[in-house]
């Protein structure tokens, strides 16, 4: 267990080394935040409230999303795939810790650092510039913490599975590109899932991507209550377990049947 704790710390420290990159990335997230808010507000001006989103919930949605980009690393994480292609993954496999556990531990450290530096600041800047909707009750905050933690695990587990695809395909770029577009739209990052037609919303909400972005945002915005709320978080937990399990199975299959390149 001590090894995993050390890996969490290492993940944090590793990302904290690139301060200029953190700052420039943060600036980018903030500029995009203003862009997205402007489009959403123009849409609300034209349509009135859409699917329960009024001005302050739409603003809050956009800034939470901007904060989640790096906290969840939803777009660019090809570390494992790169190590699979170079053959370095053999070193990872020969270490006396579980490969998936080790990557998860490091990713939790990364997520913690990114939450502080790239997750909270865009939201605070958004809160200064606009009226955001902040939940009042401690229960919502507590549940949001749980939901956000689960979102981080689901996001890691999904990236782990997608990266493992590099064992089978020679060019990982196609797989990565497909996964990037899917997560952008199906997670509810680009527009709230509720903006889609009902059948599509229901379908997308049931898929694992919604458990990353839309679920924690919905908890924060208190869009569900009672059983519905419990269901959202339970679904996140279910996807965490299922995707981590799928990752283990795939890794098992890969190490049994696939010859690692680069040797």
């Amino acid at each position: 267990m001590a090894a995993y704790v050390a890996l969490v710390r290492a993940g944090w420290r590793r990302w904290s080394a690139y301060r200029a990159a953190t700052l420039s990335g943060l600036a980018t997230n903030v500029v995009f935040g203003f862009l997205r808010v402007a489009v959403l507000l123009a849409a609300l001006d034209a349509a009135g409230p859409i699917a329960g989103y009024d001005r302050s919930t739409a603003i809050t949605y956009a800034w939470l999303g901007q904060g989640l980009i790096m906290t969840l690393a939803i777009w660019r994480w090809v570390e494992l795939a790169t190590r699979i292609h170079s053959g370095d993954v053999v070193t990872d496999l020969s270490r006396p810790v579980d490969l998936q556990g080790a990557y998860l531990a490091e990713d939790l450290g990364r997520a913690g650092y990114q939450l502080v530096t790239r997750g909270v600041p865009p939201f605070l800047i958004g809160a200064v510039a606009y009226d955001v909707r902040v939940p009042g009750g401690a229960a919502t905050w507590l549940l949001f913490t749980v939901s956000l933690s689960l979102a981080i695990v689901v996001s890691f587990a999904m990236r782990f599975v997608v990266n493992l695809g590099a064992f089978w395909v020679l060019d990982f770029r196609g797989l990565h590109g497909a996964s990037t577009v899917l997560v952008t739209v199906a997670s509810g990052f680009a527009v709230p899932l509720a903006f889609f037609p009902g059948w599509l919303e229901t379908l997308l909400y049931a898929l694992p991507w919604a458990a990353m972005v839309q679920a924690p945002i919905d908890v924060f915005l208190e869009r569900h209550t009672g059983a519905g709320l419990a269901g959202v978080v339970a679904l996140q937990a279910l996807w965490s377990v299922a995707l981590l399990g799928a990752g283990r199975l795939l890794l098992h299959a890969a190490t049994r049947r696939v010859v690692v390149q680069g040797g």
Binding site: L41, A42, G177, V181, F195
Partner: protein, 270 residues
């Protein structure tokens, strides 16, 4: 001038070789292109998901917004196809591999540009073209010779503007030695921005994308003319035809900055 024509000939040769080499893996190329077409098609679904809820955004209907999306989309897709790999130039600068580029008696920019070509991104070009075709079919454009001429000018200028932006940010990486996410705010971010009418954005964002990185001159302003719309922002009417001039000036700045940045290169210490 002979230098420039030499550069053009050389660039065509080098890129021709890249295309031929990538074309060797035909099945892989077709799969990649089809994949990237389908994937970027999802991108437009987002615009559609918004427009389901209202007839017009700030006075712009879905086909009209699709016109902006199409012009900007083709522009960024073409620029990304030819220059997207500049985003990774910082790796060569950091490791000192850029030395090799300086040793050859050919323009540094030509070498760097010809070093790679993401032919598979042709799928994105097709997707944006499809959106533009839809826009032209569905929007009410009262075609005149001037409008017919302005459309391709807008598309070409958009591609050049995005390409120059890639070059500018690659130049900055000579100092930062790192990946530059800020650049994305003007390439991919600029694309998001210019897919919507300029009037929905606040004053500082408008100025940023109209006068600092002048993307509005290749999409929004010509778009107003193509659709015969009045500009609620009250910018001068000649802005609608200024794309070639603004693009030429911007490209010149990018090229000058590139030469300045290359002179700054100090290689690695060891």
């Amino acid at each position: 001038m002979t230098n420039l024509s030499n550069d053009v000939v050389l660039y065509r040769r080098l890129v021709g070789a890249r295309i031929r080499s990538q074309w060797q893996y035909r099945a892989s190329f077709v799969l990649d292109a089809v994949g990237s077409f389908c994937m970027t098609a999802i991108d437009f679904v987002v615009v559609w998901a918004l427009f389901r809820h209202f007839p017009a955004l700030d006075g712009w209907t879905l086909p009209e917004v699709a016109l902006l999306y199409g012009i900007s989309g083709i522009g960024i897709a073409v620029a990304d196809l030819g220059c997207g790999h500049l985003e990774e130039l910082y790796l060569d600068i950091r490791s000192g591999k850029f030395d090799v580029v300086l040793l050859r008696p050919v323009s540094t920019l030509v070498q760097v540009l010809a070093a790679d070509l993401a032919l598979r991104r042709v799928g994105r070009v097709l997707q944006a073209t499809a959106v533009l075709v839809y826009a032209l079919a569905a929007a009410d454009v009262a075609w005149t010779p001037a409008r017919l001429a302005l459309l391709p000018v807008g598309v070409v200028c958009a591609a050049l503007l995005y390409a120059a932006t890639f070059v500018l940010w690659a130049g900055i990486s000579f100092w930062t030695l790192g990946a530059n996410e800020v650049g994305n705010a003007f390439t991919y971010g600029g694309n998001t921005m210019t897919s919507y009418p300029l009037s929905v954005f606040g004053a500082w964002l408008r100025r940023l994308y109209a006068f600092v990185v002048p993307l509005a001159f290749v999409t929004y302003f010509p778009g107003l003319y193509l659709l015969g719309k009045d500009d609620p922002l009250g910018y001068p009417r000649w802005f609608q035809f200024a794309a070639p001039v603004v693009t030429t000036a911007y490209v010149a700045v990018a090229l000058a900055f590139w030469r300045f940045a290359v002179r700054h290169y100090r290689s690695t210490g060891s």
